[in-house]
């Protein structure tokens, strides 16, 4: 019961956060210089009557707080708004664009975790030996290089120079193979991986570098604990100590970093989608800003905000599964 109660409590706590996000974004989007209607009619002979008619139709002639109220009442009922520029409901656009972004972010995380944890453990095990120094340099480069630059370099090397991998676009594994021009699912998935590889590495490098350093520090700490000495004294093989005794307690901070870095990862996705011409939410977001499509801006921000908040809550909850000392709400 404790855990469920805690989960609900944390999700309720997220509501004021999301309201805060909505106010700030709404004000910023609407105070930005420029006029969405004129931008939409770009270049055309501006007919003041038409502008006013459009403004009236979308409620743009009303004062800001009324428009905010209208937007929020819609949002509470599950209406994410309507893109005036694209003349489609925001929710439709989001559904269309969320898949590629999630695919990109999740694969970047998988890449980061799968590489960072073993490398961090090896670095901890061979502390202050050459392997450790190499990993330190890799991590330093990883955290200090912007992801879009890594993306561009990867394109230049692997797509342009070597021609091994495609430089743009994404093949969606959930679409029917025929529609994408492939004979069967295997071919489709192979193509997905091929397209995903470079953007995944570009986006995941920062996460990998961060996680690797944290994993190393945690493992070094863990390996010096008394319980590791005890395990050694009872003849537990070193690899079991690394994989089990020292490993598990070292993972808590890793989970925290994964949860908190979700925001950087989503932010990074905006850039990476642009570099690799992937039609995800990030790219949609940039277009929405350029077009001052304020309902679309709002919609994307709210969804990303919700994803982030839920990510943090999941992080908190997962502690309970890893560390038995963490209990929620209940006292013993």
């Amino acid at each position: 019961m404790g855990l469920l109660k805690y989960t609900i409590y944390r999700l309720l706590q997220a509501i004021p956060v999301l309201i805060g996000i909505s106010i700030i974004t709404f004000v910023l989007a609407n105070l930005a210089p420029g006029d969405p209607v004129r931008l939409m009619l770009q270049g055309q002979q501006v007919d003041e009557e038409l502008v006013r008619a459009i403004e009236q139709r979308y409620g743009l002639d009303q004062p800001l707080h009324v428009r905010y109220w209208n937007y929020m009442t819609g949002l509470v009922q599950g209406d994410l708004g309507y893109s005036i520029h694209r003349d489609r409901p925001v929710s439709d656009l989001m559904v269309e664009r969320a898949g590629p972004t999630l695919l990109l972010v999740v694969s970047a995380y998988v890449f980061a975790i799968v590489t960072a944890i073993p490398l961090g453990i090896i670095a901890a095990k061979r502390r202050n030996k050459p392997t450790d120094h190499v990993s330190r340099i890799v991590a330093l480069v990883g955290v200090s290089t912007p992801s879009f630059w890594i993306g561009i370099m990867l394109i230049i090397i692997f797509a342009v120079q070597l021609g091994w991998l495609p430089s743009a676009g994404l093949v969606y594994p959930w679409q029917p193979p025929e529609a994408a021009g492939y004979d069967n699912h295997l071919q489709l998935w192979a193509a997905t991986i091929e397209h995903l590889l470079l953007p995944m590495i570009a986006l995941g490098t920062l996460q990998m570098a961060t996680l690797m350093r944290v994993e190393r520090t945690q493992m070094i700490d863990s390996l010096q604990q008394e319980y590791v000495k005890l395990a050694r004294a009872y003849g537990v093989p070193e690899r079991t100590i690394l994989r089990k005794h020292a490993f598990r307690s070292a993972q808590l901070p890793i989970i925290t970093i994964i949860g908190l870095n979700l925001s950087t990862a989503l932010g990074g996705a905006v850039l990476i989608e642009t570099v690799f011409a992937i039609n995800g939410m990030g790219r949609l977001f940039i277009e929405a800003i350029q077009q001052l499509d304020y309902q679309l801006i709002m919609g994307i921000t709210m969804v990303l905000g919700a994803i982030f908040v839920i990510g943090v809550v999941i992080t908190d909850i997962s502690y309970a599964y890893i560390d038995p000392r963490v209990t929620y709400g209940e006292r013993e």
Partner: protein, 393 residues
Amino acid sequence: MSSEPLLRVENLKTQFFTESGTVRAVDGISFDVHEGEIVGLVGESGAGKSVASMSLLRLVDDPGEIVGGEISYRGETIFGLEEGPDGELREREEMLSESEMRERIRGREIAVIFQDPMETLNPVFTVGGQLREFIELNRDLPSDEAKAQAIDMLREVGIPDPKERYEEYPHQFSGGMRQRVLIAMALACEPNLIIADEPTTALDVTVEGQILDLVDDLQDRYDTSFIWVTHDMGVVAEICDRVNVMYLGEIVEQAPVDELFYETNHPYTNALLDSMPRPDRTVEELDPIEGVMPEAINPPSGCRFHPRCPDAREVCTRVHPEPLEVDRADGYPHRAACVKHDVFDVGYDESVPLEAGDEAETGVGETGTEANVDSDSPLEEDQASTDGGESER
């Protein structure tokens, strides 16, 4: 008595190679442990007791290393060096390999109980799971049998509701209960020797008493030998059969327990006994040992205890005594490393006693500040030995 000992340690040397120099944490100690015995390893913090005991399992942390001596357990060589054809020392052929140590000795033959029960159990695994893992590993039992054994053992060490407690995590146990778990761990692996490294130091006194009783009781039943590492002479008196007193990496006195207490032959042991709180003495009457133990990185010349020794004479600064047999009791030798005994024959009696001022000169910084205090302490000591203090021994 004369049977082959279970464990024999000869001239063991363990050193730490640090940036500021070589720390000779254990500097040539010899002792043995017979079957069914509890052997004490006593001394102040930093005397090298823990390093010595971990050396027996060849588990010295970096940058430490066993550099000399011999450890043999039931005819097997845990550590031993020999001179190679090139004149360099090398490990002897019959010395157990790292994997043999892991598979045959650690846990299986020699188990340990560590000092701090709060830190020694892994917080993210259940108590039972940890116990079961070690039993499985060291007794080759399948998982379910190991679990049954683990629960039995928890009951044996006095943990109520062992079935339920098996599933609990260390943070749900009190310090005393955790120490019982660690004792259960050691016994459950059915080793022949248990190294108990200050197992009661972190516990409060009532719990300490319970644990000592428990160990005493279990030791009778399982006939396991113990090496009991402690700084507490009270615990030694209560539990040990024979005692080794360590000072600065060396054994300075070695005797059966009663002999050590009643026929104390080394001034350091005397000082340890005098600094022990007893109901018949007030705090003012306690005689703490002067100064702080010097660093093992640069031990004093001659006898390492001489800067703090009330009986120190000039000869003590020059002659470094090895422990020699000064008496015999219960068929065991009583050894002491102090030149005031006749067997040393280095002219102690003719030598000039060291004054308090001389002691400060020997470079042990901390004693300098206490020089004023200790100028009148010899007086007190004389009094103590004429009133009651002497009759006690």
